[in-house]
Symmetry: D2
């Protein structure tokens, strides 16, 4: 597992919550996405650079979260994300969302991202190898290793 880890801290906002006064759950996936981007930036190769320099996007093919305890309006929470698996054309990012104070887990899960790129000739979007530059950024060496 790569040593690069990103942890973002935030306060649950009024607008993040639903009539039950807890976080409206799709927001957790939004925050996992935000922290995935932050993780790439921290590794030194942002998704934006990846798109601009290599034409490579990393859309999600699988997203899964299990929810342990709710987070309420005003709670201070942390989102911790890291790459837990590298494939030849995909990577898995593990996410853990917890209460900042107690460390109690709010949600745990992962997102699987595939690398895609428009075909230079047809322009059609298709899967591609994980750019070596991205692996290098996370210091995981060659594919398969």
């Amino acid at each position: 597992m790569s040593g690069v880890v990103s942890t973002i801290a935030q306060r649950v906002q009024f607008g993040d919550c639903d009539p039950a006064r807890i976080v409206y759950y799709p927001n957790y996936f939004r925050w996992c996405d935000v922290n995935t981007h932050t993780l790439f930036e921290k590794a030194g190769l942002s998704a934006r650079e990846l798109a601009d320099r290599f034409g490579v996007h990393t859309p999600i093919v699988d997203a899964h979260l299990e929810f342990r305890t709710p987070a309420k309006w005003g709670d201070d929470i942390e989102v911790r994300s890291e790459v837990s698996r590298w494939g030849s054309r995909s990577l898995t990012v593990s996410h853990r969302i917890s209460h900042a104070g107690s460390g109690d887990v709010i949600a745990e899960g992962h997102t699987v991202h595939v690398c895609v790129r428009p075909d230079p000739e047809t322009g059609k979007i298709g899967a591609c190898e994980v750019p070596q530059e991205l692996r290098d950024a996370f210091e995981v060496g060659e594919a398969g290793n």
Copy 2:
């Protein structure tokens, strides 16, 4: 599996999409949630009634979607949801999002909901049995059957 099925049709909006010009994926979970509510309404007992009449909310403890093909700005899509499993204190709703024309699957997955209710004495929120009225609405008979 209950016979009640809800299918909602919609056009992917500009604001649903990201710089990659495809649906920003947390929106799929939002739409699954919208259709889960529509499903309950169709069964005849809305989540809102459930909250107002019984004090019961159905927060999500597990949310999982696999993404097959992207949906782009302007695409017409359908979200099809139904209860695929009843537990004593939980229910699983299966979701399939597809292109309206071709029927090509965009995403498939499920959400697991637990029934919770504030304790009449302490007011503390805790798990509770699935209200019989909800089972009846979906015509699945007694718990465990």
Copy 3:
């Protein structure tokens, strides 16, 4: 004022509402945006076509809503939008959001959109004339008329 009007009807969803159990107000701007796109489609030249065929986007330079009465979870509402003013490089879309049953106004206001396009040489985004094709679609004749 152009005769083209778009009205969309929808039910206020659980996830649209905040802990006060009323619509979280930024959603109203999202719905105005959705209906602005629907309005353009209804006129026969969608914002997407406008972007794809002419490279013209219509970002918002002014957004204003006044809120009369709240809308609650489960309410059926309507969003009515139409172009209320054409400028040489901009257009104003008026929006009225109301309760479907009573017609009671929930919110009223407008968004002002400018036409922008990347400079063919520098690629720099800059303001441009409202494409005649867009005016024609709304049947408002020549600029200034």
Copy 4:
């Protein structure tokens, strides 16, 4: 004008942007709302406390933003908010969103909030005086002064 000012800094995220690769504008209203809450917290009486202790909510009756320059995916921005006017039953919060580096203004505007509270007898929500505790928190003295 009260001396209490809240400024929040953030990076524009992928998911905040639309296919035009700029911030999807309803997000600006969301951020103004977040910073309004942060402003209240900074003054020492959060909207949440206001709701929990006094049963008072501060829904928005008017929201207006003018947009000067777009913010793009990856930009670092600041949202600066302060109370610019106190009424007997309302307050106006002014917002300025700018680029963190250059200070270039992205958007400027305001939100007007009324104080509402459920009637102790009927439970019906209605306008009420701005709680003195809120004025005190912002150190603006008596109403009308």
